[in-house]
């Protein structure tokens, strides 16, 4: 058996089948790399890293994530387009600082309320576009009509934007049933005077 292999090898070398030898050596290199060295997913993908804590239903903005600190991904290899993450919402659970943000942990729309006794109401931020940067999921706000506080204990559920422009955004509030009814009535009658303010600001 060994003798016949020796004969084959000798035949290859002495018969000067150099093209076969070079082709075989290269094929061996490719097979080794394919089967052993690159033993993993067929196409490597990397994730961006969260630069701050991202709560559930937080709408991802471009400054919420950055390049990883080490590895080839720190050079930007195999990362998706930042645009593909922008505008998506954190699904199910919060993402801690330094953790990867992949598409499986995000969703296109905010998740539903967990408490069946609570209601959602949306207030346009057309006249308060600067608030988009401050409002985030779970932030406590007050809903005010002219100078009357309609709901003092509202929480931001999520921010919804139809365009990239902040003026096109809405704040989706998590309210009690009563507050939601009050706000809905006011909105029907006179929506232009309805606005939100941060609860902490109100205290000051």
């Amino acid at each position: 058996m060994l003798g016949s292999w020796f004969l084959v090898v000798r035949e290859l070398i002495t018969n000067r089948s150099q093209q076969i030898i070079i082709f075989a050596a290269y094929a061996l290199f490719v097979v080794y790399m394919y089967e052993i060295y690159l033993d993993g997913p067929n196409q490597r993908t990397e994730t961006y890293i969260a630069t701050r804590q991202l709560k559930r239903n937080h709408m991802i903005r471009i400054d919420d994530f950055g390049l990883p600190k080490a590895g080839v991904a720190s050079w930007g290899w195999f990362l998706p387009n930042p645009d593909s993450l922008e505008g998506l919402y954190v699904a199910k659970k919060d993402i801690e600082v330094g953790n990867g943000i992949d598409l499986s942990s995000l969703q296109k729309l905010p998740g539903p309320l967990n408490d069946p006794n609570r209601r959602l109401a949306s207030i346009p931020l057309e006249k308060q576009p600067e608030l988009v940067g401050f409002l985030d999921s779970d932030v406590q706000v007050e809903v005010v009509h002219e100078s009357t506080v309609l709901a003092a204990n509202a929480r931001v559920h999520a921010i919804l934007c139809t365009k990239k422009d902040a003026a096109s955004c809405y704040v989706l509030l998590d309210l009690s049933k009563e507050d939601e009814m009050t706000i809905t009535q006011k909105r029907i009658l006179d929506s232009k005077k309805l606005y939100v303010r941060l609860a902490t600001t109100a205290q000051h």
Partner: protein, 415 residues
């Protein structure tokens, strides 16, 4: 588009525009596409450039890129001669010794084919040779036909499945498949049909009312003519292939062997030292002549193909390295490690085929312009082939080795 090409022509000399600039541009584009695919910051940068509304900025970036690519193309075109030398197999001796046998084996195979074809031609010559001792095939059939008509008048049992018909059909099948028809096969058919002709009356139809014997005799006549023509044209084809593919000395690469054909032709035909006299010969070919343009185009085309071959190989090397370094995944590695070398090899083979055309043009240049070179060197034109061979040899010795040779000058009288 025309304006862009005119501007490019003004910026970059035409001698590097096609052979080096366009391949380099393609190289940058394909590498840019790879980066766009795999690298997010580059992708963002590219999108930003493409989305730029300010035409001034876009034009500035495009201008800078073109200048950078042109500079690289210029530098790369300076390397072309070195690259061509490498592809022609001008390597260290141990590499030459390792790779040459492959080419020698190719040469031997070609020589073997020529030898086999010669044997077929010689045998066919004996078949069609008309001597009293060995009558030619046509006379053998005629004699058999006459014998059959005389001895078996009114009897014809020959059909399409008779022995002679089968043998002729075998030859027909060889012709259909474009296979060689050699003497033995042809002779077998002639012998078989001769027997059938002797045993039947060709002027009488067979039981089916057909003149099958006449049909097959005509077929055989055509096939013999075809076999002789085929052997002759094959001889020309194989010898042309041999002369276009191999010189006297065997190089370790296909391209090297094509290159050697020029020197071998010049040396064998005229004792003309091609390497030495080529630049001088180029100087005497009229620049505006169609031939000079054709030669220049062929050279440009070859350089373009060489550039494409090298840059594809370089692309492949770069991305194989990147795939391994970044552990890019199996699919990406397989893509660059298989497609790159295969594509580079295809470019190389196309370049070799093109080099054969260029080599032919160079041989033509020697044939057509060598006397003009002698005139421009103020040397008397030779009277015959022998004198010419001696003259080029003397010139070579004088110019290359500074030997003193007896060469007559011839000065034109001024008007």
């Amino acid at each position: 588009m025309n304006q862009a090409l005119t501007a490019l022509n003004a910026l970059i000399p035409s001698s590097i525009l096609v052979p080096a600039f366009f391949p380099m541009l393609g190289f940058f584009v394909i590498n840019g596409m790879m980066l766009y695919w795999l690298n997010a910051p580059f992708r963002a940068f590219a999108v930003q450039i493409i989305d730029l509304q300010a035409t001034g900025k876009t034009a500035f970036l495009a201008g800078i890129s073109i200048i950078a690519i042109a500079m690289l193309a210029k530098a790369f075109s300076a390397l072309l001669r070195v690259i061509q030398n490498i592809l022609e197999g001008n390597w260290p001796q141990f590499l030459v010794a390792f790779f040459s046998p492959d080419q020698v084996r190719r040469l031997e195979r070609l020589e073997q084919l020529i030898h086999e074809n010669d044997r077929i031609r010689v045998n066919l010559d004996t078949l069609i040779g008309d001597t009293p001792a060995k009558p030619d095939w046509s006379r053998r059939l005629t004699d058999a036909r006459n014998l059959g008509v005389k001895n078996h008048s009114g009897i014809n049992s020959f059909t399409n499945i008779s022995h002679g018909a089968n043998e002729v059909s075998k030859i027909e099948r060889l012709r259909r498949k474009n296979e060689r028809i050699d003497f033995d096969k042809l002779n077998t058919a002639i012998v078989a049909l001769t027997k059938d002709l002797e045993a039947n009356d060709i002027t009488t139809p067979n039981q089916a009312g057909q003149y099958a014997l006449q049909v097959f005799e005509n077929k055989l006549a055509r096939l013999v003519g075809y076999a002789v023509q085929q052997a002759n044209s094959e001889d020309i084809r194989l010898n042309n292939l041999l002369r276009a593919s191999f010189g006297t000395r065997t190089a370790p690469t296909l391209m090297g062997n094509v290159s050697n054909t020029i020197q071998s032709y010049a040396d064998g035909r005229y004792s003309f030292n091609f390497e030495f006299f080529w630049s001088r010969l180029l100087a005497v070919i009229p620049k505006e002549s169609e031939f000079a343009k054709t030669l220049e185009n062929a050279k440009t085309q070859l350089e373009f193909l060489l550039c494409c071959c090298c840059l594809t190989f370089l692309w492949s090397l770069i991305w194989i390295g990147v795939s391994i370094w970044t552990e890019a995944g199996r699919t990406r590695f397989l893509l660059v490690s298989v497609c790159g070398p295969v594509l580079a090899y295809v470019w190389y083979r196309v370049a070799v085929a093109h080099y054969q055309n260029l080599a032919d043009l160079m041989r033509t240049a020697i044939d057509l312009h060598r006397f003009k070179l002698l005139e421009d060197l103020h040397i008397s034109l030779p009277i015959d082939v022998q004198e010419e061979n001696g003259l080029w040899d003397k010139l070579h010795r004088t110019h290359s080795f500074y030997e003193s040779q007896m060469i007559n000058y011839s000065h034109k009288k001024s008007a």
